[in-house]
Amino acid sequence: MRLRSALLAAAALVLGGCVAMVRMGPGTVTVRDAISVSSDGGWNRLDVPGGGGEVWTSDGLSLDVLTFFVGIKDGEPLAPAPMGSRRVPPAFRAAMLPHQIVELYEASATQDGSTFRLERLAPGAFAGAEGFRFDFSMTRKRDDVALRGIAWGAVVKGKLYLIAFRAPRLHYYAKHLPRAEATARSALIRP
């Protein structure tokens, strides 16, 4: 197993060199220069190269993820195509209806083969605009873990603003949901 250990060590070095973790807040934090939100100080931002939206977590990526797709312009994808894929990822369009934005998020969230089920889609104010929210459930392909999620979104002046929270159905969703909701409620679009 010496080879395996060497591979793991190499992977750790590579990843260790690339992923920066920054504690967010407490207080007002700017995300991607597009919105400001209030953080309770328990969130950490992960800077993953090649990733899509800005990613925050409290207990770790497998346990809770708050993703910000904010200031997305017409024609931009939520996330780049996976490494090695020649396919063009689906892009946001300013005229998209909430149903289509859910499908856009679904496409990004299920690239790894996970399942996705929309549980509820309803209107809702977000970032000072008339927006929408949706609840969903997923089964993560990697480890078969059942996830729950919720997202808040709006299209303002042709740009998409979407915050999505997802976590294992067992324990972690309920643990962090109020904090995720508070963060989303505090969102303000930067002028």
């Binding site: 490494m83 090695g84 690239q111 790894d112 399942t115 549980e119 929408f132 392909k141």
Partner: protein
């Protein structure tokens, strides 16, 4: 061997290993299935291989991705058992919800059949061709041959564990990166053609029309041609097909082998029984298929299915969904046509009217979109998106 072939399917096209048939790989009439295999001693190299697949199977048994419907499991298991004969006792079939064209059989008897294959096979004879091929690998103990070919067993175990990890992660990029390594452990062309030959033997012995073994590859090739990127990967001989001959060559050799085998009495297709067995799962499998976003391939698949069932409203609805989601050129008009056609047929779901409403709203046909949304809410008043849809309707 599962993992390398998974990799090939995931990055582009189904290939239950694109092998070629060699004359005499298992000469007609001369081939007899071997006696049942005893479980190898755990200290032996074969025992070690079984152990690895046993662990993978234990994981698979708990997977939320298994299709657990007893009726469908029973149907596929019965078919596999008929083909496998006395080896049925050593065979365990798992239906896995993954929208790609693949099946595999491990040396310990674990057989996986992916939902993308179940959706694509047109009839029982085509499924029998694929399952027969996989049983062929099992009966010829190809995994063990491959294991012995690999010089270092430690390195093999290492690579295999990486494949399994990558398969679980399901990351396309990882698969592409592992491509070169994976090809080391894929079955050889000789093994593929032997498995093809055994598969043909098994299916025709049970009366299934051998032409369907060729037809399933023709269908797949048509789908590949429907998607520019997939076809580019195929025609460009990327890592995807580096170790295997093209589908066209395989088709030709399969036809020759079918002629050699003869058996003109083998004409059974089992189209109706197959459609009936799959009926309950088709909507779910199509939802997964749409998530692949390979619209060109899916449209070819749907066109083929419509030819076999022209009065099926659900198929027309799915066709509309493909156009709506792609949304290029005149796709929205095409979607509307499909939805309206579907509404006049049997079997379209209520979501048809929601989709029609969404398309009409995108086309600024407000009054008509409201009619469609109202119809949707009448049929599904507690729909998950009813609250949002109601905001599109004036207060009454």
């Amino acid at each position: 061997m599962i993992a390398p072939r998974r990799r090939r399917i995931v990055i582009g096209c189904g290939c239950l290993a694109l092998g070629a048939l060699a004359p005499g790989a298992a000469a007609s009439g001369a081939w007899h299935p071997p006696a049942r295999f005893a479980r190898p001693h755990e200290a032996s190299e074969e025992g070690g291989l079984w152990g690895m697949f046993d662990r993978e199977e234990a994981r698979l048994k708990r997977s939320a991705f298994l299709v657990r419907d007893p009726a469908l499991n029973d149907y596929v298991t019965r078919l596999a058992c008929r083909l496998a004969g006395e080896h049925c006792a050593d065979l365990r079939v798992y239906l896995v919800r993954t929208p790609h064209f693949n099946a595999s059989m491990a040396p310990n008897g674990m057989m996986q059949v992916w939902s993308g294959l179940l959706l694509r096979a047109a009839n029982e004879a085509q499924l029998a061709a694929v399952l027969g091929h996989e049983i062929g690998h099992f009966l010829a103990r190809h995994s063990l041959e491959r294991l012995r070919d690999v010089k270092s067993r430690a390195a093999f175990a290492n690579f295999l564990s990486i494949f399994f990890a990558a398969a679980r992660a399901g990351n396309v990029g990882q698969f592409a990166q592992l491509g070169v390594l994976a090809s080391l452990f894929a079955f050889t062309r000789e093994q593929e053609r032997e498995a093809d030959r055994i598969g043909l033997e098994l299916m025709t012995r049970h009366g299934y029309a051998p032409g369907e073994a060729t037809a399933i590859w023709s269908q797949l090739l048509d789908e590949i041609k429907g998607d520019a990127v997939t076809y580019e990967e195929y025609a460009g001989r990327s890592v995807l097909f580096a170790t295997h001959p093209p589908i066209e060559e395989r088709q030709k050799l399969l036809e020759e082998a079918a002629r050699e085998i003869g058996r003109p009495e083998a004409t059974n297709l089992g189209a109706d029984s197959y459609r009936a067995a799959l009926a309950r799962h088709r909507t779910e499998f199509f939802a997964d298929e749409l998530r692949r976003r390979r619209y060109g391939e899916t449209l070819v698949l749907l066109e083929r299915m419509r030819k076999a069932a022209a009065d099926d409203g659900a198929l027309e609805f799915f066709r509309g969904e493909v156009y709506r989601m792609r949304g290029e050129g005149d796709d929205l008009e095409q979607a509307l046509n499909a939805y309206r056609h579907a509404a006049a047929l049997h079997g379209a779901p209520p979501e048809l009217f929601r989709s029609e409403g969404l398309v009409l709203r995108q086309l600024d046909q407000e009054a008509q979109s409201r009619t469609a949304f109202r119809r949707y809410l009448e049929l599904k008043p507690t729909a998950e998106d009813a609250e949002l849809i109601r905001t599109y309707l004036p207060r009454e």
